[in-house]
Every structure is written in structure tokens, then in C-alpha cells.
């Protein structure tokens, strides 16, 4: 793949029913090439991407084989059957991206207007993610830039206006948009859906009441849960099925063990386990888990590690300290081998949920697939470099020592990025946005549409920039330090400038701008009132803030 091309084993077909010619499909920068395994075969193919107008593919999870169907501008279709969905996805993304490139900058911009920005972005991201950097040709990068530009051109204008104009600093401007940046950064990693918090496998067995039959229901989702929470069961499944026993027998045995476990009939459990060694596996404590626990306990946050206390505690030597003063609970003894408690299960379940699932929803088909997918992801994880883990730990430790500090004793260097005063602002923005929304919608009031485009754009821009100003203005209150004070003064100057500009526009008798003027005035009034209050207070108290 690093050579800038993708080659996969495929079967080339002219129609779906065609048996197909086995061969190799190579995708290079601007063309696709099919070479059959039999060099004498006639069905060679070599065409440029720009002739392809459309592509379709089989959805994962359907019964059909993984196939990609390309349609050329002459209406001919080329069908490739892949060996796996994985191969299909790689090639599909490649083709999709190549498709995009041919549109060029203009085309992308057009597409954007057709409300497809998200799909395109997603496509390109996938492409970039799946392929090494050198493969991404310049045109793709160009596309990305265009998209970013179009998406954020409004932002750019605002940025130029306020940061360029010295009203806001770079940090202030972006502080309110932190989320935007984070979202973009996060989107790079492929996100999987999380696991449900509730315990699925804990769902009660169904008892029909007439006979002694007990029914357990197992879905692939539950199987996933069982496998990831009980690695020993997972391992047993991989070892036994299908070589030693059938899928169904395995689960019957598992459910039998579960039933014994839950009925809390330890004597019966021990008796049955003695006779049936496979059943015993389900009842025994999980050795894989025990190892994992040992590994994890070393990396636990030292400020809550109670295990180190035990290693340090000299007074809890056997028979030292006070033994029976009623403060300690009397421990119940039991056969530990077969006692797995609900509490342990709950802890384990929550830990697994927190860790997240390594397999996709699509892979939740049958037990076998789930088991294999889990195994694969496990191997991947173990081969992943350990440096990664330790650096994550370092990061975490740093976080801990940071958490040790007392927040409100710290200096005020980041107070100006204080959270918004939600109550005021939400009312205000609601007002403004509803005005904007209603303006376009109400039949009698389609003032905006009647305006010439240049005026309309100007007006909308005013709206956005005033909204931005308001956001900063209201988030600066209450003024707790000098920094905020100067910031508010600067904002106020900018607002009065904006106000005079709007006065001109409002000659066009636009009700929108009236509202905007109202918003500005409200803010300015607040400023004046506050300023007066401060001035009078400052006279009373010499150490007060001014």
C-alpha cells in the first residue's frame, strides 16, 4: 500500500450471475487495472477513474458476497467480487476519493452547497486515515482545503474582523470554539459505539412453570458480553468449538454452569464439576482475568492504591492488633473455588464497558464471528507497542498531580476564559435566532428575500459578528480582575462602532437590524450601569476594583 497503489485479489464479472474471472485488481493514482490470473484470458481492463460516474457496493452483513459495481460514463458496469469486506472497503474508499478528485476545487464547492459536506469530509478522512501520507496526492489535499475554507469562511471573516482589529486576542477568540477544534481532532480516530451499561447476560432465565425446563436466551450481543467479561469462556470456546463439541452443546454446558452458579447450590456445583471437566472450566475462577488483574494493579493510580497499604501495614500481621473488639465484620467462610459473587460480576462488567468494545456492530452476527473478531482485536492490542501504554500512564500521573492542586487558590490567568453566564445569553441568542428564523419563514415578512443579495449578506454578517461580540461581552461578567475590565472596555468600543454602522443599515427599515440594535443597546446599558456602580463602590472602598 505504501507504494501508492492498492492491489487485491478479485473476481471480475460483467454481470452479477457471471462466474467471474479470478485475477488482481490494482488501483493506482488515476486509473484502475485488472489483470486476470490466466494471462491468456481476454477480460483485461485498464481504465481511468474519470470515466467512472457511479459506484455501488454490497453492504456488510447482507448474504451476498462482497462486490463493488462501477458504472462508466458509457453505461457499462464492471463488477468485482472481493475475498473479504475489508478489501472491498479499502477499494471502495479509494474509488470514492478518486471520484472526488476529478471534480476539482470548483466541483467540491458545488457539492458542498448540495449539503453533502459531511459525507465528503468523511470520505476524505477515511481515505487519509487508511493510506500512507505519500499516497495522498496533491489534489486531495486541495479538496480538503477548499472544504475547510468553505465550511469556515464565515469563521475566517469573524476572525479577521475581531482578532485582526485587536478587539479580541487569538486565545479569546478560540476559547469559545474549543469544542469545534476538539471535534475535528477527534474525528480522525474511528469511533465505535460504546457498550450498554446494563448487564445483558444477567437477564433472567425463562422458566415456563410447568416443567423443570429453564431457558436462557443468547444473542450475539450477549455473547460478546460474555466473551469479553469472561476471557476463560472465550478461550474455551476457541479451543473446543467446533473441534470437540458443537456450538450448541458448548452453550448448553455454559448455561448449565450459570444455572448452578446462580442457584447458589455449591455442593451440586462441586459434584457436577468433578464429573465434567468442561463444565468445571466455567465454574473455576478465571485465570486469564487473574493475570490481567495482577498486571493492572501495578498501573493503578498510586493515590488510591490500597494494595500498597496492605504491603506496608505492620499492624495487620497475623494475630497482631486488636482481634475481636466488634469493629471488624465477621467474614463468612465458604468454598472460594466455586463462589463468584454478583458484586464481582458487576465490577467486571463495568470495567469492560468502560474499556469499550473492540468489535463493530457489523461483526455481531453469530458466535463464531464474534469469538474470532474478539481474538483478533486482542492480538492486535497485545502487539501494539507497550510504550504507548506507559506514555499514557505518564500522562495520567501528570493529571493526578495536577488534580492535587487547589483550583481556586490558583492565579487568575485563565479567568477571562470563564464559562458563559448561560442564563442571560441563552435568552438573548434565542431572541436573535428566532428572529432570523422567522424572518425567512413567515409569508408576509420575507423581508430578507426582498433585499438585494449584497445587503442581505452584509446584514447576516452583522448578525454573526454581533452574536460573537455578545458572547464575549456577557461571558466577561462578573468582572473579577483587571484583565476582564480592559476586555470589556475594548468590546464596548467595538460595539459602539458596530452600532453606528447598523444605524445606517437600519435605514432600510429592517426589523432584524432593529433587534440587533436592541441587543447592542441592552449590553451597553448594562455596561454603563455596572460602570457607575463600580465607580461609586470604588469611592467607598479604596481597595475595591476599578
Amino acid at each position: 500500500m505504501s507504494s501508492g497503489q492498492v492491489t487485491k485479489r478479485v473476481k471480475y464479472k460483467t454481470s452479477v450471475k457471471d462466474a467471474g474471472t479470478p485475477g488482481r485488481l490494482s488501483l493506482v493514482k488515476e486509473r484502475l487495472v485488472f489483470r486476470p490470473n490466466n494471462p491468456n484470458s481476454a477480460s483485461k481492463l485498464d481504465m481511468q477513474f474519470k470515466y467512472i460516474t457511479n459506484h455501488r457496493y454490497t453492504k456488510e452483513g447482507s448474504n451476498k458476497a462482497p462486490m463493488l459495481n462501477l458504472t462508466s460514463n458509457q453505461g457499462a458496469s464492471y463488477i468485482f467480487e472481493f475475498e473479504s469486506y475489508e478489501d472491498l472497503h479499502i477499494c471502495r474508499d479509494f474509488v470514492g476519493c478518486a471520484n472526488l478528485m476529478k471534480f476539482g476545487h470548483k466541483g467540491v464547492a458545488e457539492l458542498l452547497h448540495r449539503q453533502q459536506k459531511l459525507q465528503i469530509l468523511e470520505l476524505i478522512r477515511k481515505f487519509i486515515q487508511n493510506n500512507p501520507a505519500e499516497m495522498i496526492c496533491s489534489s486531495v489535499q486541495g479538496c480538503c482545503k477548499t472544504i475547510d475554507y468553505v465550511l469556515h469562511s464565515e469563521l475566517q471573516k469573524l476572525h479577521q474582523q475581531f482578532v485582526g482589529g485587536g478587539v479580541l486576542t487569538e486565545a479569546e477568540f478560540w476559547a469559545t470554539r474549543k469544542k469545534l477544534l476538539e471535534k475535528d481532532a477527534n474525528r480522525k480516530a474511528k469511533q465505535r459505539g460504546g457498550l450498554k451499561s446494563s448487564v445483558l447476560a444477567e437477564s433472567k432465565p425463562f422458566i415456563d412453570g410447568r416443567t423443570n425446563r429453564v431457558t436462557f436466551n443468547l444473542t450475539p450481543e450477549i455473547v460478546r458480553e460474555i466473551f469479553s467479561e469472561k476471557p476463560a469462556v472465550h478461550r474455551a470456546y476457541l479451543n473446543f468449538v467446533p473441534s470437540k463439541m458443537a456450538d450448541k452443546d458448548f452453550w448448553t454446558k455454559y448455561c448449565r454452569a450459570e444455572y448452578l452458579q446462580r442457584s447458589k447450590n455449591i455442593a451440586a456445583a462441586i459434584a457436577e464439576a468433578a464429573e465434567d471437566e468442561e463444565l468445571a472450566i466455567f465454574l473455576k475462577p478465571d485465570d486469564i482475568l487473574a493475570n490481567e488483574t495482577r498486571r493492572k494493579i501495578r498501573r493503578v493510580d498510586p493515590t488510591l492504591d490500597m494494595e500498597t497499604d496492605q504491603g506496608d501495614d505492620y499492624s495487620h500481621l497475623p494475630d497482631h492488633g486488636i482481634f475481636r473488639d466488634g469493629s471488624k465484620e465477621v467474614a463468612e467462610s465458604g468454598n472460594e473455588l466455586y463462589q463468584r459473587t454478583l458484586l464481582q460480576d458487576l465490577n467486571r462488567h463495568a470495567a469492560v464497558v468502560l474499556q469499550g468494545t473492540p468489535i463493530d456492530e457489523e461483526q455481531l452476527k453469530d458466535t463464531q464471528t464474534v469469538a474470532e473478531a474478539l481474538e483478533r482485536s486482542k492480538q492486535e492490542r497485545s502487539t501494539a507497542s507497550k510504550d504507548d501504554e506507559s506514555s499514557a500512564d505518564q500522562e495520567r500521573l501528570k493529571g493526578i498531580s495536577q488534580a492535587m492542586t487547589i483550583d481556586d487558590l490558583r492565579g487568575s490567568n485563565d479567568h477571562h476564559l470563564a464559562p458563559l453566564w448561560i442564563k442571560v445569553l441563552s435568552v438573548l441568542t434565542h431572541n436573535i435566532s428566532s428572529t432570523k428564523y422567522n424572518l425567512g419563514k413567515k409569508p408576509g415578512e420575507s423581508l430578507l428575500d426582498s433585499l438585494p443579495t449584497s445587503v442581505r449578506d452584509e446584514l447576516l454578517h452583522h448578525h454573526i459578528s454581533i452574536e460573537e461580540l455578545m458572547k464575549h461581552f456577557w461571558s466577561s461578567y462578573p468582572i473579577t480582575n483587571k484583565y476582564l475590565n480592559t476586555k470589556v472596555t475594548k468590546l464596548k468600543d467595538e460595539m459602539s462602532k458596530m452600532d453606528s454602522q447598523l444605524q445606517v443599515t437600519s435605514l432600510l427599515l429592517n426589523s432584524l437590524s432593529v433587534r440587533l440594535v436592541q441587543a447592542l443597546e441592552a449590553a451597553m446599558q448594562h455596561y454603563d450601569a455596572e460602570q457607575q456602580k463600580r465607580a461609586s463602590k470604588a469611592r467607598e472602598k479604596p481597595n475595591g476594583y476599578s
Binding site: 488483574t293 494493579i297 498510586p302 504491603g311 506496608d312 494475630d319 466488634g326 458484586l343 487547589i406 473579577t480
Partner: protein, 774 residues
């Protein structure tokens, strides 16, 4: 910030300071000036630790002519790590502002188990087996054997450390246990022995209580400490219990059986030595004639023996003749074990004083008091002579000798109680002979005598005048501080009824009522849906928690809870609990939110903080109780009454065993100190906020409630004293909404400042703190 308290420049690593921190420092400085002990109470959430650390380190920096050392004792290792993290932060600040002059060496010290980096040794299961595995590689005779026989395994880390000799030093800095291990690994030196060696040079040593209070450990680790030290006991509200635990021993059947096995093995060893190296036993005999002061000429790795209680002058006396020879000593031990076995074989409870017990040993087994007193040291001398490294196999006989030495040393402050079974389970025979210490001052006395200043501090030390009597010392400063809050950031509530108006309680006759269980469950289900991040629940006992979670699981309540938050639970397995806690924090950090189920007397309640988003709500289901009819507790109360004139009522209030409930049925008492401890760990700073729900109808009674600490009571409004679930829900919603609003952090709007800037502190320094704050 940097400010003056009289002649001392205090370096404080923040831009602002709480007024209570400032006054705390002023009081602490007075105690240091007076070279006396002090007792300081200040609520959690006011940054006590950082105030303490910055004052004492600044004090040490100011008084360079007589440098003081800080010995900081914490209850647990994880509290030690927290302290070191704060110290690191402070140290960075001081170095930044003062340069190299502020450099210091601060180390945390723990056992081999927590410090060892040798993979074969540290993989051993518990502390004792790690100790033994270490000795197997580092004992002096093992090493001399290795010098002749290259196949004899040794520890490369210890060997490297030993070779480096004087060159093996830690550079200045603050070292947590992990830092020590990392440093040891990098240099190839044993971190445990390096740390122990550096203890005498360090400016700050952080370790757990037992290193000073337990004579078994203190004799080894802390004997080199200089008099000019400041000893701090943090979170010291339970210090009396640690003291008496350090001097208490119990003997059970298993102990005696193990001891007999140990004696036989020692006998075999002696026979073996007689054959191959009889001279060694003779040399030991001669040494014992001269006295027990044998530690001086032992190498570092062997110094694992110390006397539990003997004052130094006894060490120079000759060991009594009847136990000087190894065989004779073994005979004495056999007779002692036999005697204890007979004693243990009883079917009624017996209580005896040490004096009469010693007298009857003398008449029945022919062992006099002096021989008993020397047992502990005699045994260790013998084990050493016999070159025994697997000391973890000999714990039982060590216990017996511990017992003998204690009973032979102390004539008062102890009693011996023999019980044939646990009174709560009279059907299961489990005889035990307990030597229990009643007098907390015995263990802590050497500390008060030896060190210049001892600071006892905690969030809750009430009543504060009881501690000097219990510990028998005279503080020069004894103060209790209140917390001034900028806003009402704590919201305690008393919930007495469920939403169906039925009362809730864990009182014995109600606790298993399905209505109570359901109402408790519903309360939690409602709360998880409105409270962000972390919620902590405390139950009165493990068995109660286990029962209630199982029934919640069956009735589907647990499922409803899990719709909103993940559930983590404290179990009796410490490792599992630690992992659960770690995951709980991760879940709170990542925004998923979680509930932690815990037990009021458990390990989690004792020392884990649920500050900030780790504990926005704490629910105490029921009133924690303690079994107060225990013979040991009764004996202790009697002793306190007779010796210190501390009335039972006073102590029980203090020890929070309040009010006998329902005597006829259960003899159960309440323990409010536990309740206070559970909910007292939600606040980390004044910017933090949290709610507490006391869910039991008994909390609405004034006599119960008044035992809660003052800082909680002062926030408990009358309107919140008798709530049902839906009312509590409403209050919680309002509270959370209020807390989300920005506020003036300095509190200048309310008239009294709750946060001081540099400027304010300077002004305070000029005017005197008192008038502005109180």
C-alpha cells in the same frame, strides 16, 4: 505567593490563600517557636496539607542555623503518595523562586513489598514473603556464602548498592515510591536499602504511622532521627486506635499449633548446627552474657530485629541465664505454649490483669517475668544465629514471643481476655486469648519524649480537649478552625421517607423490610438521573450491602441505575476494590458517570477521597453501628474511667459509639464518627461542591444528628431535616443549578473575605490576623 509570618518568609505555591490556612500557619509557627507539641483541627477542603508543608519547609529555610527535619506520618500509603505529590508541587515552586537554596531531599518510605525492584523477589505474594525472599538473597551469611560459591544467588541490586557504598546517594528532590523505584532501576541500586539509608539525611521523610508508633518497626527505621524534628500525624482522629493496635497481640489455636511446628524446626536446626558449627552457638551464648546490645555490629541487611518495647538500658543487661542457652530457651518456649494451650481451652470468658497472668505463668509453668520480657529478642538472636532466612515461616513463634515480651514488660494499661467464641456467633467455637492495650499513650510516649515538636492534626478532632488526656501530653497550642465558605457549597439533607411516605431506616427491625429496600433503591434511581459524574453510596456493613444489591438486582432497580451510571462496588478483596476505584475514577473522568457502593467501616471509607466530580453526591444508607458489648471495648472504657477519669459517655461520644439502640433485641450502637468520615471527603476546595444525603429516619432526631461534625451541621437547614425522596430530588436539582453559576471567589460581596490575595495577606501581617478574621 510569598509573605511574612513574623520573621519567617513563607513560600506558598498559589497566588491566593484561604484565611484559615493563614491562621493555621500562624498557630503552627508559634508551636514550632515554642518547641512544643500542638493539636490543630481544620475541616477537610481547606488545604491543610499544603499549609502545613509550606510553613514547615519555609521555617526550615529561615532557620538555617538549626535545621529541622520534617517527619510526616500518614495513615496509608496512598495518602503518603498524595502528600508527596503536594510536596513536589511546593518544592518546584520554592526552587523556582529561591533557586538552589530551596533544594531539599524528601522521600517516601515503605516496605520492601512496595519498593523492591528485583523481579524474582517482588513477585512474592505478601509483605512477609517479600521480606523473606529479600533476606534469602541479602542476609550477610548468604552473601559471604556467595563469595565462596558463585552458584549461590544474590540480589544484583543490593550488591550494586553495597559496592557503591558511600557513593550511593539520592540527589535532592522529592521522591514518591514510584520515583524511588525508577531511580533504583536506572542506577541498578536497591531502592529499599537506599531509601532507608537516606532517611537520616533527608529533610522530609513521609511514611506511615507504624514507622513511629509500632515499636517493632520504629526500632529499626526511626532510631536515627534527630531530636530537632517536627513530627506530623495527619488525619490523626484515629491515632489512639493505631497506638493500642500496635501493642496488642492475640493468640489462637492456629497460632499455638504453628508455634509448636516452629519450635520443632528450630530444634532440628540447633542439632544440625551442633554437628557442623558448635562454635557459633557458643559465641551467641557469650554475646548474650554481655547483653542484648547486639544491633550495632550487624550489617544493614540484617537489622530486621528490634525490640517491641524494651527501653534501651535493658538492652545492655545480661540476658537471664535460664534462656541463654538455645536448648533452654526452647524448653521455656515449649512450656509457655503448653501453658497458653491449657488457658485457651476454656468455655467461659476470662479477664485477667498482666500482673496476675505473669504470676500464674510463674507458678504453673515456671517462667519468671524477666525471662518473658526477653523472649522477643532472644528469639531473634537465635533465628539470626541459626541463619534462618525464611522468616515468614516463623510468624507464629514470633507472635508468641511478642506476646511474652509485652506481658512481661507492662504491668498496667493492658488486660488479658480469653473468649471461647465470638459473642455474635456463639455456635462457632473459636477460642482466642487477647492481650489488649488500653492506653494509647504507651505507644506514642517515646515520640513525644524524643522529638521537639509533634503536630497532631485532622479534619475532625472533636472534642479537642480529649486527645491530650488520651495520649497523655501537653500541647502548647490547641486550636480548632472553622471553614469560611464563599457560597453554600455543601448541601446536607436528612431523608426520612421514601416517595411513598413510608419511613426508611437500617434499624434492626426495619432493615430487611422490602419497603425500605425498595425506597432506598428508588432514591438512588432518581438521583443517578439528575446528579452528574460520580455518586458514592455507603452502607452500614458488607453483609447489608451484599443483601441489598442482590435484591435490587432481582427487582430490576439495579438495571434502572445502570441506565444512567456504571456501578462499581467495594468488595472484601483489596485488589479488586482498588481496581474498581480506579475504574470508577476513569468513568467519572471520561464523563460516563458512575456510582460507587462502599461500606461505612471499610477500607475505602477510611482513606479514599471523593472530591470534585468524583463525589457530587454521597448517600449514607442508614446509621453505621458498632458492636459495643465487646469485652475488649468494655475493658478499655473501664480503664479510661479509672485512670484518666474519662467518662464512658464522653469517650463513646468521642469514639462516636452513640446511644444504645434497641437494647433488648440487638445491643447495637450507632457510630456517627464513621458517618462523618464517609461524608467528610467530598470537598477539596472552596470551589468544590457536593451534596450529602443521610437516609435514615433516626437522623431527624436531634440527639443523633448533633453528633455530626459542626461544619456539616452548620449547613444543614431546618427545612432539610425531614425529607421524602421527591423533596430531596427537588432540592438536589436546585442546588446543582445554583452551583453551576459563576460566583465571586474572594467572597468580598458577603463582607468577609474567604480568599486572600498577596495584598490582603500583607495587610493582615501588619494588623494581626485575629481582628480581621474572627
Amino acid at each position: 505567593m510569598k509573605f511574612q509570618i513574623e520573621e519567617v518568609t513563607v513560600y506558598f505555591p498559589y497566588d491566593n490563600i484561604y484565611p484559615e490556612q493563614y491562621t493555621y500557619m500562624v498557630e503552627l509557627k508559634r508551636a514550632l517557636d515554642a518547641k512544643g507539641h500542638c493539636l490543630l483541627e481544620m475541616p477537610t477542603g481547606t488545604g491543610k496539607t499544603i499549609a502545613l508543608l509550606s510553613l514547615i519547609t519555609s521555617y526550615a529555610l529561615a532557620k538555617t542555623e538549626s535545621p529541622i527535619k520534617l517527619i510526616y506520618c500518614t495513615r496509608t500509603v496512598h495518602e503518603m503518595e498524595k502528600t508527596l505529590a503536594e510536596l513536589k508541587f511546593l518544592h518546584n515552586y520554592q526552587v523556582k523562586h529561591l533557586g538552589a537554596a530551596a533544594k531539599m531531599l524528601a522521600i517516601g518510605l515503605s516496605s520492601r513489598k512496595n519498593l523492591c525492584v528485583n523481579p524474582t523477589v517482588s513477585s512474592a505474594e505478601n509483605r512477609d514473603s517479600v521480606d523473606a525472599a529479600c533476606r534469602k538473597l541479602t542476609a550477610s551469611w548468604v552473601r559471604s556464602m556467595a563469595a565462596e560459591n558463585p552458584n549461590q544467588p544474590t540480589c544484583e541490586f543490593y550488591e550494586n548498592y553495597d559496592r557503591a557504598a558511600g557513593g550511593a546517594v539520592l540527589p535532592a528532590g522529592v521522591y514518591t515510591l514510584e520515583d524511588l523505584r525508577a531511580f533504583g532501576k536506572e542506577k541498578g541500586w536497591c531502592p529499599y536499602f537506599l531509601a532507608r539509608h537516606m532517611v537520616q539525611f533527608a529533610n522530609v521523610v513521609v511514611y506511615s504511622y507504624q514507622y513511629l508508633l509500632d515499636p517493632k518497626v520504629a526500632g529499626i527505621i526511626s532510631k536515627e532521627m534527630q531530636k530537632e524534628s517536627v513530627v506530623v500525624f495527619d488525619e490523626a482522629h484515629n491515632i489512639d486506635n493505631v497506638c493500642i493496635e500496635a501493642l496488642s497481640v492475640s493468640v489462637r489455636r492456629q497460632t499455638l499449633e504453628g508455634a509448636i511446628r516452629n519450635i520443632s524446626r528450630i530444634e532440628n536446626e540447633i542439632d544440625r548446627f551442633k554437628d557442623i558449627d558448635a562454635g557459633r552457638l557458643r559465641a551467641e551464648y557469650n554475646r548474650l552474657v554481655e547483653g542484648l546490645a547486639l544491633r550495632g555490629d550487624l550489617s544493614a541487611s540484617d537489622a530486621w530485629l528490634a525490640n517491641p518495647a524494651l527501653p534501651d538500658d535493658i538492652l545492655r543487661q545480661a540476658v537471664p541465664g535460664n534462656i541463654r542457652r538455645a536448648e533452654h530457651f526452647l524448653h521455656v518456649l515449649r512450656r509457655l505454649v503448653q501453658y497458653l494451650k491449657v488457658k485457651l481451652d476454656t468455655d467461659k470468658v476470662e479477664k485477667e490483669s498482666p500482673v496476675s497472668f505473669v504470676a500464674s505463668i510463674n507458678s504453673d509453668a515456671g517462667i519468671d517475668q524477666k525471662a518473658l520480657k526477653f523472649c522477643y529478642d532472644r528469639l531473634h538472636s537465635l533465628l539470626m544465629t541459626l541463619e534462618i532466612t525464611d522468616t515468614d515461616e516463623f510468624l507464629h513463634i514470633q507472635t508468641i514471643c511478642d506476646f511474652a515480651t509485652l506481658v512481661g514488660t507492662y504491668a498496667r494499661g493492658f488486660s488479658i481476655i480469653i473468649e471461647p467464641f465470638d459473642e455474635r456467633m456463639p455456635l462457632i467455637p473459636d477460642p482466642v486469648l487477647q492481650l489488649c492495650c488500653h492506653d494509647a499513650s504507651l505507644a506514642i510516649k517515646p515520640v513525644f519524649d524524643r522529638f521537639q515538636s509533634v503536630v497532631i492534626t485532622s479534619g475532625t478532632l472533636s472534642p479537642i480537649d480529649l486527645y491530650p488526656r488520651l495520649l497523655n501530653f501537653h500541647p502548647v497550642v490547641s486550636r480548632s478552625f472553622k471553614m469560611s465558605l464563599t457560597r453554600d457549597c455543601i448541601c446536607p439533607m436528612v431523608l426520612t421517607r421514601g416517595s411513598d411516605q413510608l419511613p426508611v431506616s437500617t434499624k434492626f427491625d426495619m432493615r430487611s423490610d422490602p419497603g425500605v429496600v425498595r425506597n432506598y433503591g428508588k432514591l438512588l434511581v432518581e438521583m443517578v438521573s439528575i446528579v452528574p459524574d460520580g455518586i458514592v453510596c455507603f452502607f452500614v456493613s458488607y453483609s447489608y450491602m451484599d443483601g441489598i444489591i442482590n435484591s435490587w438486582n432481582e427487582s430490576g432497580i439495579l438495571k434502572d441505575i445502570m441506565q444512567h451510571k456504571l456501578v462499581f462496588i467495594e468488595t472484601q478483596d483489596v485488589v479488586e476494590t482498588t481496581l474498581a476505584l480506579d475504574n470508577y475514577r476513569r468513568a467519572c473522568d471520561c464523563g460516563r458517570g458512575a456510582v460507587f457502593f462502599s461500606v461505612a467501616r471499610g477500607k475505602v471509607a477510611e482513606g479514599i477521597d471523593f472530591d470534585r466530580h468524583y463525589g457530587r453526591l454521597v448517600i449514607m444508607f442508614g446509621v453505621p453501628f458498632q458492636y459495643t458489648e465487646s469485652k475488649i471495648l468494655r475493658a478499655r472504657l473501664e480503664y479510661l474511667r479509672d485512670t484518666f477519669q474519662i467518662k464512658e459517655g464522653d469517650f463513646l461520644t468521642f469514639d462516636a459509639l452513640i446511644d444504645v439502640m434497641n437494647i433488648k433485641l440487638t445491643d447495637r450502637n450507632l457510630n456517627q464518627r464513621q458517618a462523618a468520615q464517609c461524608v467528610g471527603r467530598v470537598i477539596r476546595s472552596k470551589a468544590d461542591y457536593g451534596m450529602m444525603i443521610f437516609a435514615d429516619k433516626r437522623y431527624s432526631r436531634h440527639d443523633k444528628r448533633s453528633k455530626l461534625p459542626g461544619w456539616i451541621l452548620s449547613h444543614l437547614r431546618d427545612a432539610n431535616l425531614n425529607l421524602s425522596t421527591d423533596m430531596a430530588l427537588h432540592i438536589a436539582r436546585e442546588f446543582l443549578r445554583k452551583m453551576a453559576q459563576p460566583y465571586e471567589k474572594t467572597g468580598s460581596t458577603t463582607g468577609r473575605k474567604t480568599l486572600l490575595s498577596q495584598e490582603d495577606v500583607e495587610k493582615l501581617g501588619n494588623n494581626g490576623a485575629q481582628e480581621m478574621l474572627y
